[in-house]
Protein backbone atom coordinates (compact mmCIF):
# COMPACT_ATOMS: atom_id res chain seq x y z
CA UNK A 1 0.00 0.00 0.00
CA UNK A 2 2.67 2.44 1.07
CA UNK A 3 4.73 1.16 -1.85
CA UNK A 4 1.97 2.11 -4.29
CA UNK A 5 1.91 5.64 -2.92
CA UNK A 6 5.66 6.03 -3.20
CA UNK A 7 5.70 4.49 -6.66
CA UNK A 8 2.87 6.78 -7.74
CA UNK A 9 4.70 9.85 -6.48
CA UNK A 10 7.92 8.83 -8.17
CA UNK A 11 6.06 8.18 -11.44
CA UNK A 12 4.37 11.58 -11.30
CA UNK A 13 7.64 13.33 -10.57
CA UNK A 14 9.29 11.38 -13.38
CA UNK A 15 6.52 12.26 -15.80
CA UNK A 16 6.82 15.96 -14.89
CA UNK A 17 10.59 15.76 -15.28
CA UNK A 18 10.36 14.20 -18.74
CA UNK A 19 7.62 16.60 -19.83
CA UNK A 20 9.68 19.59 -18.76
CA UNK A 21 13.01 18.40 -20.20
CA UNK A 22 12.95 20.87 -23.11
CA UNK A 23 12.84 23.70 -20.58
CA UNK A 24 15.82 22.48 -18.58
CA UNK A 25 17.78 21.80 -21.79
CA UNK A 26 17.08 25.27 -23.13
CA UNK A 27 17.46 27.44 -20.00
CA UNK A 28 18.58 25.19 -17.16
CA UNK A 29 18.15 26.67 -13.71
CA UNK A 30 17.85 30.14 -15.24
CA UNK A 31 14.21 29.19 -15.78
CA UNK A 32 13.68 29.38 -12.02
CA UNK A 33 14.92 32.95 -11.75
CA UNK A 34 13.40 34.12 -15.02
CA UNK A 35 11.16 37.14 -14.43
CA UNK A 36 9.63 37.20 -17.84
CA UNK A 37 6.67 35.12 -18.99
CA UNK A 38 5.55 35.89 -22.49
CA UNK A 39 4.31 32.87 -24.45
CA UNK A 40 3.76 34.89 -27.63
CA UNK A 41 7.40 35.96 -27.62
CA UNK A 42 8.59 32.52 -26.52
CA UNK A 43 10.01 33.81 -23.21
CA UNK A 44 9.33 31.75 -20.11
CA UNK A 45 10.42 32.30 -16.49
CA UNK A 46 9.05 30.77 -13.29
CA UNK A 47 9.78 33.52 -10.79
CA UNK A 48 6.50 35.48 -11.04
CA UNK A 49 4.51 32.35 -10.25
CA UNK A 50 6.76 31.04 -7.51
CA UNK A 51 6.59 34.47 -5.89
CA UNK A 52 2.82 34.71 -6.41
CA UNK A 53 2.31 31.32 -4.81
CA UNK A 54 4.48 32.11 -1.80
CA UNK A 55 3.05 35.61 -1.34
CA UNK A 56 -0.62 34.57 -1.50
CA UNK A 57 -0.10 31.50 0.68
CA UNK A 58 1.86 33.41 3.29
CA UNK A 59 -0.66 36.24 3.27
CA UNK A 60 -3.48 33.72 3.67
CA UNK A 61 -1.72 31.97 6.52
CA UNK A 62 -0.98 35.24 8.28
CA UNK A 63 -4.67 36.13 8.18
CA UNK A 64 -6.04 32.67 8.85
CA UNK A 65 -3.86 31.67 11.79
CA UNK A 66 -5.00 34.25 14.37
CA UNK A 67 -8.63 33.70 13.42
CA UNK A 68 -8.25 29.91 13.60
CA UNK A 69 -6.53 30.12 16.96
CA UNK A 70 -9.30 32.36 18.24
CA UNK A 71 -12.01 30.04 16.98
CA UNK A 72 -10.31 26.97 18.43
CA UNK A 73 -9.87 28.75 21.78
CA UNK A 74 -13.54 29.70 21.83
CA UNK A 75 -14.64 26.18 20.96
CA UNK A 76 -12.41 24.42 23.48
CA UNK A 77 -12.50 26.84 26.36
CA UNK A 78 -15.61 28.93 26.26
CA UNK A 79 -18.38 27.18 24.34
CA UNK A 80 -21.16 25.46 26.29
CA UNK A 81 -21.18 21.75 25.45
CA UNK A 82 -24.56 21.71 23.68
CA UNK A 83 -23.32 24.31 21.17
CA UNK A 84 -19.99 22.67 20.50
CA UNK A 85 -21.35 19.91 18.24
CA UNK A 86 -23.29 22.17 15.84
CA UNK A 87 -20.40 24.64 15.60
CA UNK A 88 -17.90 21.90 14.79
CA UNK A 89 -20.33 20.52 12.22
CA UNK A 90 -20.60 23.94 10.61
CA UNK A 91 -16.83 24.21 10.41
CA UNK A 92 -16.53 20.76 8.84
CA UNK A 93 -19.18 21.77 6.32
CA UNK A 94 -17.22 24.89 5.36
CA UNK A 95 -14.07 22.81 5.05
CA UNK A 96 -15.86 20.51 2.61
CA UNK A 97 -17.24 23.29 0.40
CA UNK A 98 -15.88 22.92 -3.19
CA UNK A 99 -13.30 25.55 -4.02
CA UNK A 100 -15.21 26.70 -7.09
CA UNK A 101 -17.93 27.89 -4.73
CA UNK A 102 -15.36 29.92 -2.82
CA UNK A 103 -14.17 31.22 -6.18
CA UNK A 104 -17.65 32.30 -7.26
CA UNK A 105 -18.26 33.94 -3.94
CA UNK A 106 -14.87 35.61 -4.33
CA UNK A 107 -15.80 37.04 -7.73
CA UNK A 108 -19.25 38.27 -6.80
CA UNK A 109 -18.76 39.38 -3.21
CA UNK A 110 -15.13 39.70 -2.29
CA UNK A 111 -13.70 41.33 -5.43
CA UNK A 112 -16.04 44.34 -5.33
CA UNK A 113 -15.73 44.51 -1.56
CA UNK A 114 -11.95 44.65 -1.78
CA UNK A 115 -11.94 47.09 -4.67
CA UNK A 116 -14.45 49.61 -3.34
CA UNK A 117 -14.31 49.25 0.44
CA UNK A 118 -11.21 47.50 1.74
CA UNK A 119 -8.56 49.00 -0.52
CA UNK A 120 -9.56 52.65 0.03
CA UNK A 121 -9.53 51.96 3.75
CA UNK A 122 -6.14 50.23 3.64
CA UNK A 123 -4.54 52.90 1.50
CA UNK A 124 -5.80 55.63 3.81
CA UNK A 125 -4.57 53.79 6.92
CA UNK A 126 -0.95 53.77 8.14
CA UNK A 127 -0.58 50.42 6.34
CA UNK A 128 -0.90 52.33 3.07
CA UNK A 129 2.70 53.46 3.47
CA UNK A 130 3.94 49.86 3.19
CA UNK A 131 5.64 49.00 -0.09
CA UNK A 132 3.32 45.99 -0.21
CA UNK A 133 0.42 48.30 -1.00
CA UNK A 134 0.92 50.23 -4.21
CA UNK A 135 -1.59 52.21 -6.24
CA UNK A 136 -4.99 50.59 -6.15
CA UNK A 137 -5.84 48.35 -9.07
CA UNK A 138 -8.94 46.29 -9.68
CA UNK A 139 -10.33 43.95 -7.04
CA UNK A 140 -8.73 41.00 -8.81
CA UNK A 141 -5.47 40.95 -6.93
CA UNK A 142 -3.02 39.05 -4.75
CA UNK A 143 -4.82 40.49 -1.74
CA UNK A 144 -8.20 39.12 -2.84
CA UNK A 145 -6.74 35.71 -3.65
CA UNK A 146 -5.04 35.70 -0.25
CA UNK A 147 -8.32 36.53 1.43
CA UNK A 148 -10.16 33.73 -0.35
CA UNK A 149 -7.37 31.31 0.52
CA UNK A 150 -7.50 32.43 4.16
CA UNK A 151 -11.24 31.79 4.27
CA UNK A 152 -10.76 28.35 2.78
CA UNK A 153 -7.96 27.61 5.21
CA UNK A 154 -9.71 28.70 8.39
CA UNK A 155 -12.15 25.79 8.82
CA UNK A 156 -9.31 23.35 8.26
CA UNK A 157 -6.72 24.97 10.53
CA UNK A 158 -9.27 25.84 13.21
CA UNK A 159 -10.48 22.23 13.30
CA UNK A 160 -6.94 20.88 13.55
CA UNK A 161 -5.98 23.34 16.29
CA UNK A 162 -9.19 22.56 18.16
CA UNK A 163 -8.41 18.86 18.07
CA UNK A 164 -4.88 19.49 19.29
CA UNK A 165 -6.17 21.61 22.18
CA UNK A 166 -8.90 19.12 23.05
CA UNK A 167 -6.34 16.31 23.18
CA UNK A 168 -4.46 17.94 26.08
CA UNK A 169 -5.31 15.92 29.20
CA UNK A 170 -7.84 17.28 31.67
CA UNK A 171 -5.26 17.01 34.42
CA UNK A 172 -3.34 19.85 32.79
CA UNK A 173 -6.40 22.11 32.82
CA UNK A 174 -7.02 21.19 36.42
CA UNK A 175 -3.41 21.81 37.35
CA UNK A 176 -3.60 25.33 36.00
CA UNK A 177 -7.07 26.09 37.39
CA UNK A 178 -6.04 24.81 40.82
CA UNK A 179 -3.27 27.43 40.87
CA UNK A 180 -5.85 30.16 40.52
CA UNK A 181 -5.55 30.60 36.77
CA UNK A 182 -8.55 31.69 34.76
CA UNK A 183 -9.72 29.47 31.91
CA UNK A 184 -8.08 31.89 29.51
CA UNK A 185 -4.72 31.71 31.32
CA UNK A 186 -4.94 27.93 31.48
CA UNK A 187 -5.60 27.78 27.73
CA UNK A 188 -3.10 30.37 26.69
CA UNK A 189 -0.14 29.35 28.85
CA UNK A 190 -0.58 25.69 29.69
CA UNK A 191 -2.85 23.97 27.20
CA UNK A 192 -1.59 25.78 24.10
CA UNK A 193 2.02 25.09 25.02
CA UNK A 194 1.28 21.39 24.96
CA UNK A 195 -0.72 21.56 21.76
CA UNK A 196 2.15 23.35 20.00
CA UNK A 197 2.94 20.37 17.79
CA UNK A 198 -0.69 20.23 16.70
CA UNK A 199 -0.69 23.94 15.93
CA UNK A 200 2.34 23.51 13.69
CA UNK A 201 0.65 20.60 11.95
CA UNK A 202 -2.31 22.90 11.32
CA UNK A 203 0.00 25.59 9.96
CA UNK A 204 1.68 23.06 7.68
CA UNK A 205 -1.54 21.53 6.42
CA UNK A 206 -3.10 24.95 5.91
CA UNK A 207 -0.08 26.28 4.04
CA UNK A 208 0.04 23.13 1.91
CA UNK A 209 -3.62 23.57 1.12
CA UNK A 210 -2.99 27.18 0.08
CA UNK A 211 0.02 26.27 -2.06
CA UNK A 212 -1.97 23.75 -4.03
CA UNK A 213 -5.30 25.52 -4.23
CA UNK A 214 -6.16 26.29 -7.85
CA UNK A 215 -9.74 27.08 -8.73
CA UNK A 216 -10.51 29.80 -6.19
CA UNK A 217 -7.20 31.49 -7.00
CA UNK A 218 -7.63 31.45 -10.78
CA UNK A 219 -11.01 33.06 -10.32
CA UNK A 220 -9.83 35.94 -8.12
CA UNK A 221 -6.15 36.70 -8.68
CA UNK A 222 -6.41 38.48 -12.03
CA UNK A 223 -4.01 36.10 -13.81
CA UNK A 224 -1.27 38.51 -14.79
CA UNK A 225 2.15 36.91 -15.23
CA UNK A 226 4.01 39.82 -13.64
CA UNK A 227 6.52 39.61 -10.87
CA UNK A 228 5.05 41.80 -8.15
CA UNK A 229 4.91 42.02 -4.41
CA UNK A 230 2.28 44.72 -4.57
CA UNK A 231 -0.72 43.03 -3.03
CA UNK A 232 -3.17 45.34 -4.80
CA UNK A 233 -1.99 44.27 -8.25
CA UNK A 234 -3.19 41.27 -10.20
CA UNK A 235 -0.79 38.36 -10.29
CA UNK A 236 -0.70 34.66 -10.75
CA UNK A 237 0.47 31.50 -9.00
CA UNK A 238 1.95 28.20 -10.09
CA UNK A 239 -1.43 26.51 -9.93
CA UNK A 240 -3.34 29.40 -11.47
CA UNK A 241 -1.14 29.78 -14.53
CA UNK A 242 -1.22 26.04 -15.21
CA UNK A 243 -5.00 25.93 -15.03
CA UNK A 244 -5.36 29.17 -16.95
CA UNK A 245 -2.97 28.58 -19.83
CA UNK A 246 -2.79 24.81 -20.28
CA UNK A 247 -5.98 24.51 -22.33
CA UNK A 248 -4.68 27.12 -24.76
CA UNK A 249 -0.98 26.45 -24.70
CA UNK A 250 0.73 27.82 -27.79
CA UNK A 251 3.42 25.30 -28.49
CA UNK A 252 5.98 22.81 -27.27
CA UNK A 253 8.00 25.22 -25.11
CA UNK A 254 4.89 26.77 -23.58
CA UNK A 255 3.57 23.31 -22.68
CA UNK A 256 6.94 22.18 -21.33
CA UNK A 257 7.23 25.36 -19.26
CA UNK A 258 3.83 24.76 -17.66
CA UNK A 259 4.86 21.19 -16.86
CA UNK A 260 8.08 22.56 -15.36
CA UNK A 261 5.98 24.86 -13.14
CA UNK A 262 4.08 21.75 -12.03
CA UNK A 263 7.36 20.12 -11.07
CA UNK A 264 8.37 23.20 -9.08
CA UNK A 265 5.03 23.11 -7.27
CA UNK A 266 5.56 19.45 -6.42
CA UNK A 267 9.03 20.13 -5.05
CA UNK A 268 7.80 23.17 -3.06
CA UNK A 269 4.97 21.16 -1.50
CA UNK A 270 7.30 18.31 -0.62
CA UNK A 271 9.85 20.73 0.74
CA UNK A 272 7.43 22.48 3.05
CA UNK A 273 5.90 19.20 4.09
CA UNK A 274 9.32 17.76 4.91
CA UNK A 275 10.36 20.87 6.81
CA UNK A 276 7.13 20.72 8.78
CA UNK A 277 7.73 17.07 9.60
CA UNK A 278 11.25 17.79 10.79
CA UNK A 279 10.12 20.72 12.92
CA UNK A 280 7.46 18.55 14.53
CA UNK A 281 9.91 15.75 15.22
CA UNK A 282 12.30 18.21 16.80
CA UNK A 283 9.56 19.62 19.02
CA UNK A 284 8.37 16.22 20.14
CA UNK A 285 11.91 15.36 21.17
CA UNK A 286 12.10 18.45 23.28
CA UNK A 287 8.72 18.06 24.95
CA UNK A 288 8.63 14.34 25.61
CA UNK A 289 11.13 12.88 28.05
Amino acid sequence: MAGTVILGTVLIAGELWIGSLPVWREWGLAFLSGRDWNPAAGRFGALPFVAGTLVTSTLALAMALPVSLGMAFLLVGFTPRPMEGPLVFLMDLLAALPSVVFGLWGIFVLVPLVEFRLVPLLVASPLGALPLLGPAGSGFSLLTAGLVLALMMIPLTAALIREALAAVPRSQWEGALALGCTRWEALRHVVLAQAKVGVWVAVGVGFGRALGETMAVVMTIGNRPDLTFDLLQGGSTLTAVIAHEFPASTGEMHMASLVALGLILLILSFGFHGMGRLAILGMQRRILP
Partner: protein, 252 residues
Protein backbone atom coordinates in the same frame (compact mmCIF):
# COMPACT_ATOMS: atom_id res chain seq x y z
CA UNK B 1 -2.44 31.22 61.61
CA UNK B 2 -3.81 29.24 58.68
CA UNK B 3 -7.53 29.26 58.06
CA UNK B 4 -9.99 26.57 59.11
CA UNK B 5 -12.62 25.17 56.79
CA UNK B 6 -16.00 23.67 57.45
CA UNK B 7 -18.84 22.32 55.40
CA UNK B 8 -22.51 22.48 56.27
CA UNK B 9 -25.03 20.08 54.67
CA UNK B 10 -22.69 19.71 51.70
CA UNK B 11 -24.08 17.64 48.85
CA UNK B 12 -22.43 16.90 45.52
CA UNK B 13 -24.49 15.48 42.69
CA UNK B 14 -23.13 13.77 39.58
CA UNK B 15 -26.20 13.94 37.39
CA UNK B 16 -28.89 12.32 39.53
CA UNK B 17 -26.45 10.46 41.74
CA UNK B 18 -25.78 11.99 45.13
CA UNK B 19 -22.07 11.34 45.68
CA UNK B 20 -21.74 13.43 48.84
CA UNK B 21 -24.69 13.43 51.23
CA UNK B 22 -25.22 16.26 53.68
CA UNK B 23 -21.69 16.32 55.06
CA UNK B 24 -20.78 18.54 58.01
CA UNK B 25 -17.02 18.44 58.20
CA UNK B 26 -14.67 20.43 60.43
CA UNK B 27 -11.17 21.06 59.13
CA UNK B 28 -8.82 22.37 61.78
CA UNK B 29 -6.22 25.02 61.23
CA UNK B 30 -2.57 24.06 60.72
CA UNK B 31 -3.34 20.39 61.06
CA UNK B 32 -3.72 17.45 58.72
CA UNK B 33 -7.23 16.13 58.17
CA UNK B 34 -7.43 12.77 56.40
CA UNK B 35 -10.55 11.73 54.54
CA UNK B 36 -10.74 7.95 54.30
CA UNK B 37 -13.31 5.52 52.98
CA UNK B 38 -13.82 2.82 50.36
CA UNK B 39 -13.48 3.63 46.66
CA UNK B 40 -16.46 5.52 45.31
CA UNK B 41 -17.48 6.78 48.74
CA UNK B 42 -17.30 10.40 47.60
CA UNK B 43 -13.95 11.38 49.14
CA UNK B 44 -12.60 13.05 46.03
CA UNK B 45 -15.95 14.65 45.20
CA UNK B 46 -15.96 16.18 48.69
CA UNK B 47 -12.37 17.37 48.40
CA UNK B 48 -12.92 18.97 45.01
CA UNK B 49 -15.90 20.89 46.34
CA UNK B 50 -13.57 22.64 48.81
CA UNK B 51 -11.85 24.70 46.12
CA UNK B 52 -14.75 24.69 43.68
CA UNK B 53 -13.04 22.44 41.16
CA UNK B 54 -16.51 21.22 40.22
CA UNK B 55 -17.38 24.65 38.81
CA UNK B 56 -18.15 24.50 35.12
CA UNK B 57 -17.94 20.72 34.97
CA UNK B 58 -20.97 19.42 33.13
CA UNK B 59 -23.48 17.44 35.19
CA UNK B 60 -21.95 18.25 38.58
CA UNK B 61 -23.96 20.21 41.12
CA UNK B 62 -22.82 21.33 44.55
CA UNK B 63 -25.38 22.22 47.21
CA UNK B 64 -24.77 23.39 50.76
CA UNK B 65 -22.32 25.72 52.40
CA UNK B 66 -18.54 25.68 52.70
CA UNK B 67 -16.63 28.14 54.86
CA UNK B 68 -13.03 29.23 54.59
CA UNK B 69 -12.49 30.93 57.93
CA UNK B 70 -15.83 32.67 58.29
CA UNK B 71 -16.39 33.39 54.59
CA UNK B 72 -18.76 31.24 52.56
CA UNK B 73 -16.88 30.24 49.41
CA UNK B 74 -19.91 30.35 47.11
CA UNK B 75 -20.80 33.89 48.17
CA UNK B 76 -21.00 36.49 45.46
CA UNK B 77 -17.91 38.22 46.76
CA UNK B 78 -15.79 35.09 46.39
CA UNK B 79 -14.21 34.51 43.02
CA UNK B 80 -13.39 30.82 42.40
CA UNK B 81 -10.15 31.89 40.76
CA UNK B 82 -9.11 33.82 43.86
CA UNK B 83 -10.37 31.06 46.12
CA UNK B 84 -8.00 28.61 44.48
CA UNK B 85 -5.00 30.75 45.30
CA UNK B 86 -6.02 30.33 48.96
CA UNK B 87 -7.09 26.71 48.74
CA UNK B 88 -4.55 24.90 46.57
CA UNK B 89 -4.67 21.36 45.28
CA UNK B 90 -2.33 18.48 44.53
CA UNK B 91 -3.66 15.66 42.39
CA UNK B 92 -3.44 11.91 42.32
CA UNK B 93 -1.12 11.79 39.33
CA UNK B 94 1.71 14.29 39.22
CA UNK B 95 0.68 16.85 36.61
CA UNK B 96 3.58 19.24 36.11
CA UNK B 97 3.36 21.36 32.96
CA UNK B 98 5.63 19.35 30.67
CA UNK B 99 6.33 22.14 28.21
CA UNK B 100 7.68 24.35 31.01
CA UNK B 101 10.94 24.15 32.89
CA UNK B 102 11.13 23.28 36.58
CA UNK B 103 11.53 26.97 37.32
CA UNK B 104 8.59 28.03 35.14
CA UNK B 105 6.33 25.43 36.72
CA UNK B 106 6.80 27.19 40.05
CA UNK B 107 6.94 30.82 38.97
CA UNK B 108 4.23 30.71 36.33
CA UNK B 109 1.21 31.20 38.57
CA UNK B 110 2.69 33.77 41.01
CA UNK B 111 3.85 35.77 38.01
CA UNK B 112 0.43 35.63 36.35
CA UNK B 113 -1.19 36.76 39.58
CA UNK B 114 1.31 39.60 39.96
CA UNK B 115 2.31 38.19 43.36
CA UNK B 116 6.03 38.40 42.81
CA UNK B 117 8.39 40.94 41.29
CA UNK B 118 10.92 39.77 38.73
CA UNK B 119 13.84 40.19 41.10
CA UNK B 120 12.21 38.16 43.85
CA UNK B 121 11.26 35.19 41.74
CA UNK B 122 14.45 33.32 42.47
CA UNK B 123 13.91 33.76 46.22
CA UNK B 124 10.40 32.40 46.01
CA UNK B 125 11.58 29.53 43.84
CA UNK B 126 14.31 28.54 46.27
CA UNK B 127 12.02 28.92 49.23
CA UNK B 128 9.27 26.60 47.96
CA UNK B 129 11.71 24.11 46.48
CA UNK B 130 13.45 23.93 49.86
CA UNK B 131 10.11 23.47 51.59
CA UNK B 132 9.39 20.50 49.35
CA UNK B 133 12.93 19.12 49.74
CA UNK B 134 13.59 19.46 46.03
CA UNK B 135 16.12 22.26 46.06
CA UNK B 136 19.26 20.17 46.45
CA UNK B 137 18.08 17.77 43.78
CA UNK B 138 17.22 20.32 41.11
CA UNK B 139 19.10 23.54 41.88
CA UNK B 140 21.61 22.89 39.08
CA UNK B 141 18.98 22.18 36.45
CA UNK B 142 16.16 24.60 37.09
CA UNK B 143 15.80 25.24 33.37
CA UNK B 144 15.34 21.55 32.56
CA UNK B 145 11.87 20.42 31.52
CA UNK B 146 9.70 19.31 34.41
CA UNK B 147 9.07 16.08 32.57
CA UNK B 148 12.71 15.10 33.13
CA UNK B 149 12.06 14.56 36.86
CA UNK B 150 11.10 11.23 38.44
CA UNK B 151 7.42 10.92 39.29
CA UNK B 152 8.12 11.39 43.00
CA UNK B 153 10.04 14.57 42.21
CA UNK B 154 7.27 15.67 39.88
CA UNK B 155 4.74 15.31 42.66
CA UNK B 156 6.92 17.37 45.00
CA UNK B 157 7.26 19.94 42.23
CA UNK B 158 3.46 20.06 42.05
CA UNK B 159 3.40 20.70 45.79
CA UNK B 160 6.00 23.45 45.41
CA UNK B 161 3.97 24.94 42.58
CA UNK B 162 0.86 24.95 44.77
CA UNK B 163 2.75 26.50 47.71
CA UNK B 164 4.20 29.24 45.52
CA UNK B 165 0.86 31.06 45.38
CA UNK B 166 0.76 31.12 49.19
CA UNK B 167 -2.38 29.12 50.00
CA UNK B 168 -3.95 28.86 53.47
CA UNK B 169 -5.17 25.35 52.78
CA UNK B 170 -3.69 22.56 50.65
CA UNK B 171 -5.97 19.82 49.36
CA UNK B 172 -4.28 16.58 48.40
CA UNK B 173 -6.19 13.98 46.41
CA UNK B 174 -4.44 10.63 46.99
CA UNK B 175 -1.11 12.32 46.33
CA UNK B 176 0.96 9.15 46.64
CA UNK B 177 -1.31 6.72 44.80
CA UNK B 178 0.96 6.77 41.74
CA UNK B 179 4.27 6.70 43.66
CA UNK B 180 6.64 4.05 44.94
CA UNK B 181 7.16 3.54 48.71
CA UNK B 182 10.29 5.69 48.94
CA UNK B 183 8.69 8.60 47.12
CA UNK B 184 5.56 8.11 49.24
CA UNK B 185 7.63 8.35 52.40
CA UNK B 186 9.18 11.63 51.29
CA UNK B 187 5.76 13.14 50.55
CA UNK B 188 4.48 12.04 53.95
CA UNK B 189 7.49 13.60 55.65
CA UNK B 190 6.76 16.81 53.78
CA UNK B 191 3.14 16.83 54.86
CA UNK B 192 4.34 16.57 58.42
CA UNK B 193 6.63 19.58 57.93
CA UNK B 194 4.14 21.70 56.05
CA UNK B 195 1.29 21.45 58.53
CA UNK B 196 2.98 23.92 60.85
CA UNK B 197 2.11 26.75 58.48
CA UNK B 198 -0.77 25.46 56.48
CA UNK B 199 -4.01 23.54 56.79
CA UNK B 200 -3.90 20.24 54.93
CA UNK B 201 -6.70 17.94 53.81
CA UNK B 202 -5.61 14.63 52.36
CA UNK B 203 -7.79 12.04 50.70
CA UNK B 204 -6.34 8.58 50.93
CA UNK B 205 -7.49 5.00 50.57
CA UNK B 206 -4.45 3.92 52.55
CA UNK B 207 -5.40 3.71 56.22
CA UNK B 208 -1.81 3.37 57.40
CA UNK B 209 -1.07 6.62 55.62
CA UNK B 210 -3.99 8.34 57.31
CA UNK B 211 -2.82 7.04 60.68
CA UNK B 212 0.76 8.14 60.01
CA UNK B 213 0.24 11.67 58.69
CA UNK B 214 -3.04 13.01 60.00
CA UNK B 215 -4.15 14.68 63.22
CA UNK B 216 -7.80 14.24 62.46
CA UNK B 217 -9.60 11.69 60.33
CA UNK B 218 -13.00 11.71 58.71
CA UNK B 219 -14.50 8.41 57.60
CA UNK B 220 -16.83 8.61 54.63
CA UNK B 221 -19.02 5.76 53.46
CA UNK B 222 -21.48 5.91 50.59
CA UNK B 223 -21.31 9.71 50.58
CA UNK B 224 -22.13 10.05 54.29
CA UNK B 225 -19.74 11.27 56.95
CA UNK B 226 -19.90 8.32 59.33
CA UNK B 227 -17.49 9.61 61.90
CA UNK B 228 -14.73 12.15 62.35
CA UNK B 229 -12.36 13.08 65.13
CA UNK B 230 -8.81 12.81 66.45
CA UNK B 231 -6.98 10.26 64.33
CA UNK B 232 -5.62 8.36 67.31
CA UNK B 233 -9.04 8.08 68.90
CA UNK B 234 -10.76 7.13 65.67
CA UNK B 235 -8.32 4.35 64.91
CA UNK B 236 -8.11 2.93 68.44
CA UNK B 237 -11.60 3.50 69.66
CA UNK B 238 -14.07 4.19 66.86
CA UNK B 239 -17.52 5.27 67.97
CA UNK B 240 -19.31 3.74 65.03
CA UNK B 241 -19.46 0.07 64.17
CA UNK B 242 -19.14 0.91 60.47
CA UNK B 243 -15.86 2.73 61.11
CA UNK B 244 -14.49 -0.18 63.07
CA UNK B 245 -15.47 -2.61 60.33
CA UNK B 246 -13.62 -0.46 57.76
CA UNK B 247 -10.44 0.18 59.70
CA UNK B 248 -10.14 -3.43 60.75
CA UNK B 249 -10.43 -4.41 57.11
CA UNK B 250 -13.77 -6.16 57.17
CA UNK B 251 -14.87 -4.22 54.07
CA UNK B 252 -13.66 -1.62 51.61
Amino acid sequence: MAETMRTRALRVFFGDTEAVKAVDLEIHSAAVTAIIGPSGCGKSALLRALNRMHDGVRGVRVVGRIYLGDREIHDGGMDPVLLRTQVGMVFQRPNPFPAMSIRQNVTFAPRRHGMVRKGEESNLLEQVLRKTALWDEVKDRLHHPAASLSSGQQQRLCMARALAVGPQVLLMDEPTAALDPTATQRIEALIYELKRDITIVIVTHNMQQAARVSDRTAFLDDGRLVESGETERLFTNPAEERTEAYITGRFG
